[in-house]
């Protein structure tokens, strides 16, 4: 495989690994926020921001963490037939069907960008008591889909490498 594919794979994997490991710990931020929320309820001054903040963090948690789980290979496949194929045949299948995945992620990104631009232009806020601005979380969503698409190309390159009998 050409040199640029090697550096691409190395860079993207390293980036997504770091982002994913960071996202992994957001779980405890969610816990903290919700615990704080019960405490404030208990002392009878419930905070307004906790629930929405927890929702935002959950979105960031699973979307930023997603590329890392691609690396871990933990997204289920219907592998009744797939698991019986030889690695080369698996790679061949994947090299085609990964484009379906990339297309889906691309459409998601397209929708996300459109909505983020709208948020920036209008200063969109959540229609709740706390009224948080929505652009930060939407930017995070856009970023996550970019990372997922980058990671999907890593898998494509790997499959091509397997088909050529090489290792990436």
């Amino acid at each position: 495989m050409p040199q640029w594919t090697k550096s691409y794979v190395r860079w993207v994997e390293a980036l997504n690994y770091r982002v994913g490991r960071f996202a992994m710990y957001l779980l405890f931020i969610i816990m903290g926020i919700l615990l704080w929320s019960s405490i404030t309820k208990f002392i009878r001054v419930p905070s307004l921001w906790t629930l929405e903040m927890a929702q935002f963090t959950l979105v960031a948690y699973y979307l930023l963490g997603a590329p890392y789980t691609f690396q871990l290979g933990t997204n289920v496949r219907m592998d009744l037939l797939y698991s019986r194929l030889r690695p080369r045949t698996q790679a061949l299948w994947d090299a085609f069907t990964v484009f379906a995945l990339i297309f889906y992620l691309g459409v998601m990104l397209y929708g996300a960008v459109g909505s983020t631009v709208y948020s920036f232009e209008t200063g969109e806020r959540n229609p709740t008591a706390w009224r948080p601005v929505l652009w930060p979380i939407k930017t995070v969503i856009c970023l996550s889909f970019v990372l997922m698409i980058l990671q999907s190309f890593v898998h494509l390159l790997r499959d091509i490498a397997i088909l050529r009998g090489e290792e990436l």
Binding site: M31, S37, L58, T69, T97, Y104
Partner: protein, 441 residues
Amino acid sequence: MPYEWIATLMFSTMLLMMITGQRVFGAIGFVAVVAAISLWGTGGSDMGFSSIMKLMKWTPLLTLPMFVFMGYVMSESRLAEDLYKMFHVWFGPLPGGLAVGTILLMVMISVMNGLSVAGMAIGATIALPELARRGYDKQLISGVIQAGSSLGILIPPSVVMVLFSLIARAPVNQLWLAGIMPGLLMASMFMIYVVFRAWLNPALAPRMTAEERAEITWAERLLLLRAGLLPVLIFAAMMVPFIKGWASLTEASVIGAVTSVMAAVIKRRFSWKVFETATRSTLAITVMFMLIIMAAMSFGAVFDGLGAGRAIEDFFLRDLGLSAWQVLVLMQLSFLVMGMFLDDTAMLVIVAPIYVGLARQLGFDLVWYGILYTITCQIAYLTPPFGYNLFLMRAMAPSDYTLPVIYRSALPFVGIMLVTLIVVGLFPQIALWLPNMVLGL
């Protein structure tokens, strides 16, 4: 092209895409966005994105990572080991005693956790080696663990019911209470079946020898009962604040997660390795669930936009002219068939909205219908060729548990679940009397 054809086309393309072995969420999402764009042009491209925003507002989803985390803390720190020992000592003399103990362990896990994965992980790491060491039959072991862990979604707390309540707009607390009696009924039928099998053929489940029993003193037995306190404590820590209204559902699940960590720390079983594995696995499972739900919501939205719900309603009620009960039976049958192929979250988001609407129109009680739905999900976990527990079992058990063994092992338990489904279907009171009594409806 008529809409029914588009709907059928979407469904079959999705199944085809899944068979290729691409990630499930990718397969569902791809079909959804292609259909949306070809039907509604660029306007359809926002459909996928809006499902993220919709999901964000589904607050009860926050319980999902909490329950997953809690399950992993319990299985990784081997917190349930003492509990298992307790059941082992107390039920050892019974034919198939250890298998009965395993089912009871699963009931306890279900009381603490709202997913099936936790039970599978604990069953495979703690119960399986012990059962195998005692010479229990492989098929019996595999069946007991798979069936037992599926109780996690029927006995409260239950994440599947949380998701159902979002779609049906039925109160979660009623659903949870309604799951208790059917769950216990099912668990006792499992146990009766195991004892009966072991009594017919003792080779399947060698009993504890008399010498071994004599070695255990009564003081030891009583001491082991303390292990039973753990599930009671965790359950109380979660449920009391929730039912008293001090904490919301999501906050209660956080309290549960924190309590289980504290229990592990107190028992000196909490290490960096436990923490790292639990945190990483929680991310992996949560992402897997969320991405599937996200894709399935887009799919469901397109389906909805096609008026597939209307079409199915018309088909059942007008074209076939069926009575309410006949429709109900047909719905459950089709759910069972779909459950063989689809994953339960996908089923929930794609099909449930249509069926729930239909059940409401027919005048059925949605809480009761939620229980029927949950039992059907349990069956879906265990029915070949595609089932969560089947695959988890294959992934977690030693390699001599081959897929054919696992498939065969699930069948008798699927039969028992079907019986429970029919019994609860015929006698709605089994599910409904508890919530009615507690909440005074």
